[in-house]
Symmetry: D2
Subunit: 328 residues, 4 copies
């Protein structure tokens, strides 16, 4: 089955994340190492449709491992949701004699890949690249560790000014429906409270807790709020409620925003991306398709797209307890 693969293509799709370049590099280099040729596709699935390919040899990916973002660029493709668009993509692939695909992205990417793979019997391997760490079947996604460091460094800076002024800061971090970024960066930044979608504290409990912590001698406070948290309509409402109830505090809001998606990847993400990139080509050569390569307890695992996408990853309960204790 794997004899027929001579040429592959690699693309990045959906939101970008630090380490995607390292993953592309590893795909390209393992392709060369195993005697395959490799194309890059610009702008994800849209580039498949619009025929934006580039040949990639081992030297073309040098000096990319330390760069944030993705040099192949990324996009969300409406056209790929239509059968017509996908057919065009398939014809472009065939015209270039491409036998298999590696796609780097999150659940939206894997959903599209799964449909396409079945429709045209095209082997596809997915690599989990998203800062949100919300993919089931892998301990870590590419970019997550870097995003945690970016958040913690930002909150370290904010704590300087919070402590200098006895202020309470509400800091919104990314993570979509998953509280992983908020919970881990909240512990790492020494936050007094962490609001995550998986655990609804309620605004009253929050105010009560802040009041208590003020009494135990905390003069400034950091509250990390996941963007997916539903405690109030949004972070500004939460801030207003706190300010009303705790007039002694000067409450400030910071939305960290897109700095969380960029930056030079951490060593962890570079190594993870290198492993997964190598593993994706290995998987193709083993005849695998329609799976994501993930990492579990430091070993490469193969996870069907269905399992990766449809089963919600469980947040680590122990870590919530640790957060409660160390913030006390």
């Amino acid at each position: 089955m794997n004899k027929k693969i001579n040429k592959i293509a690699v693309l990045t799709s959906g939101g970008d994340s630090p380490g995607m370049n390292a993953a592309i590099r590893a795909v390209v280099r393992n392709a060369a190492y195993t005697g395959l040729t490799c194309d890059g596709v610009y702008r994800g699935f849209q580039g498949l449709i619009e025929n934006e390919f580039v040949e990639l040899g081992p030297r073309d990916v040098k000096n990319t491992i330390n760069r944030g973002g993705t040099f192949l660029k990324s996009a969300r493709s409406k056209d790929f949701m239509d059968k017509d668009g996908r057919l065009k993509a398939y014809k472009n692939l065939k015209a270039r004699h491409i036998d298999a695909l590696v796609v780097i992205g999150g659940d939206g990417t894997f959903t599209g890949a799964s449909v396409f793979s079945k429709e045209f019997d095209m082997p596809i391997i997915g690599i989990p690249g998203t800062i949100d760490n919300d993919i089931n079947g892998t301990d870590y996604t590419i970019g997550y560790d870097t995003a945690l460091n970016t958040v913690v460094e930002a909150i370290d800076k904010i704590r300087d000014t919070a402590s200098s002024h006895d202020r309470l800061f509400l800091i919104e971090v990314m993570g979509r429906d998953a509280g992983d970024i908020a919970l881990n960066s909240g512990i790492g930044a020494g936050a007094e409270e962490i609001l995550i979608p998986e655990e609804n504290l309620g605004i009253d409990r929050l105010i009560e807790s802040l009041e208590k912590s003020r009494k135990t001698g905390k003069s400034s406070s950091i509250v990390v709020v996941s963007e997916g948290d539903q405690i109030g309509k949004n972070i500004t409402n939460v801030a207003e409620s706190i300010q009303e109830n705790l007039p002694d505090y000067e409450v400030k809001v910071t939305v960290l925003g897109h700095i969380q998606r960029g930056g030079s990847p951490s060593c962890f993400d570079r190594v993870l991306a290198s492993r997964l990139g190598v593993g994706a080509v290995d998987a193709l050569l083993e005849g695998k398709s329609n799976i994501m390569v993930g990492i579990e307890h430091k070993k490469i695992v193969h996870v069907p797209f269905e399992t990766a996408i449809n089963i919600k990853k469980i947040l680590d309960i122990d870590l919530i307890r640790v957060a409660d204790i160390v913030s006390s």
Copy 2:
């Protein structure tokens, strides 16, 4: 006149800025070096009124030079605006036999210091500590260089994701009424456009320019907007106008916020703060009062508070031209 100074106090007031600790440290160590004793005052002028003093010797300020914020904490004091409050402050200073004050802060701080100094014949020296670089008579204020690096590092990260997605990012930076942070960080970050309070481009000119730069092949763009800029009511309005007029771009807004006030100070700010802290004690011993110590062309200068506060610093016109050229 300078014979009578045996004991001084130092405080930080107004918004905090990285390098304030280095300035405190230098004041304390030059005091010790020249045979003076020195107290620190917590929470700025409010601490003077509430009698929050602490003795500071050379060993008490060790391991502070690399820390953001101010370990003496800062505050804005309403009570100090009343004669009653200031009288209380004066009595507290006399009770501790303090002969002179060093105050670290911005124009609000110097205004309060100026009134107090005249009212009670108390020698006071000011040190310019604010990220905004909006104090007249000094080339640089403490914290400004660090804030520029923080902004540029943040925009570098955002550019990763902007380039990956062909997006247009509006990024709001601090600076109050001064465009120094926006102009310098905009050049440093390679921004395509920079909006500053000192130069009103108008929204039409901005859109025209962005349209033109898209045509010359720029697929992503960074626009740095000073918080004091008046092009629209606020940055969200500006974003909406652009989005309406340039539907091809995906327009995003990021408000960098309080990360700009914190962080470990740059070497530049640590050296500047050390010079100004030493210079402040030198000035007291030379019998000076009611002045700010500043830096001009690498030399310490003495600037009357009136000159520092009341004359608006001129933005560097040459630099606006440089910005226009390098963003082209």
Copy 3:
């Protein structure tokens, strides 16, 4: 058995590593959370002998999570190797009514702890804190992830100048007898060659490989050398051999040295340290002794000191293959 524990003490011993403060903080806060009192001991086992204790409550450890090093300081203690020294230590502990110990350090620390625990029937829990990641029974040790980032950031800088000048850089990194730092940072930094103690390439193979990679178009090269590698007597010898055999390259040597031990801990290390610190107190309350708390596949595990110390951790073979492929 756990009823008798009312008061514990915590110390750091051996080489310091980033995240030790976060571990101390978690021990102190979980002690308070579970109703125990807690002392800190300065300078490791030496402080036990010299009676250097300090009471630590939850507020005493605030603003420590982001600091490198250990505020309790660390040392190697010769006196603790003698029964007399250890007896003195025991008496000091008893005089302060301390029922159990948490020790943070590496294999030397655990060896001492193991002897002491048996000798005086004192419950002791170990927390693995070393940048070398050379402790068996835990996926990660505290400080290792931070050290990897420090190394990779340093090599990123060196690559700037290596590429600008077509140079070959030999970069020595820490790790004692373990190649973990070299292998992972080498992959992360995109090194062309990685020399580790576990795999002896030989100087001829190295030169041959560098020659080949020059021919494939690499004009500059980074070779990461573990301090424990035995390819030559030392890194300077290796450099001289390469220079002799490859006169076209300009060979330079950099020994990264002690910057690898310091720095603000990464989010990963802060979370890891928080978990292990909480876990150590939990283990004491469960009646455990003479074990290390480690992390395996994100879960806390209890590992007898003997297992942690005496069995050499196996280097990940898959990762060596990944390194070979991505450097090609």
Copy 4:
């Protein structure tokens, strides 16, 4: 005179420094802005001789401002020291119709440029790019500010471990014959002692001073040593002398090395490089030749190569006094 300039070339020569790319970018963009065409030359003067040119338009320099090193690469050229080599270079320039040159580098670069300019009546403008800040006639050279931050961040990390172990660290920094890096980074890092070539303390005075500072309660110490300092034969000898005389200290040596030349440039260096790059093209258009564009008190100045090279820059005496006071 300036009418005849239609096409220019830009090169980087000598040791690389962070911000060189920003300077190239500004030269290229101001050339385009003023209607000139511009070539880049690879590998400095050697590339002139070996005919390694590349056309550079405004889009070719995008995403370079944040990169360390120089994408045009740099080299030292022996061939350019011969008249034959320079003649070859001149013929290559004429063959490409290049009317004038911008060279970015240090004193060696300017010396070569000066000879070449006179020999062939070729207008040349120099831009000071070196981390050493040892060029006369400009307040700052490109890369110096970044190097200071790199050094200070490295020493901050080393201080973590120095404080944890009560050690004395000797840290060698770059700077050739100039003490600027050592003096400024020493103040910034809070070093206890700073050894610079301009001021010979003598080993006895150093030991005496360290002894004294130990007695006043300093348990760890950082000594910054400029590579050009002549106190001992080299830093290892200095360390041995100290260790012999102060057996209580554990003395360690770190040579920071080539990390000081790389890294993403600071905002200060990016703005400085942008100004100087723009200024160099402006100077050519004003008919200037054989000068360096420098910065003095925030204004562009024109400095004859002879003045820049032959007159030794004076170290700031005031700053030595500040260092003495704040380290006390």
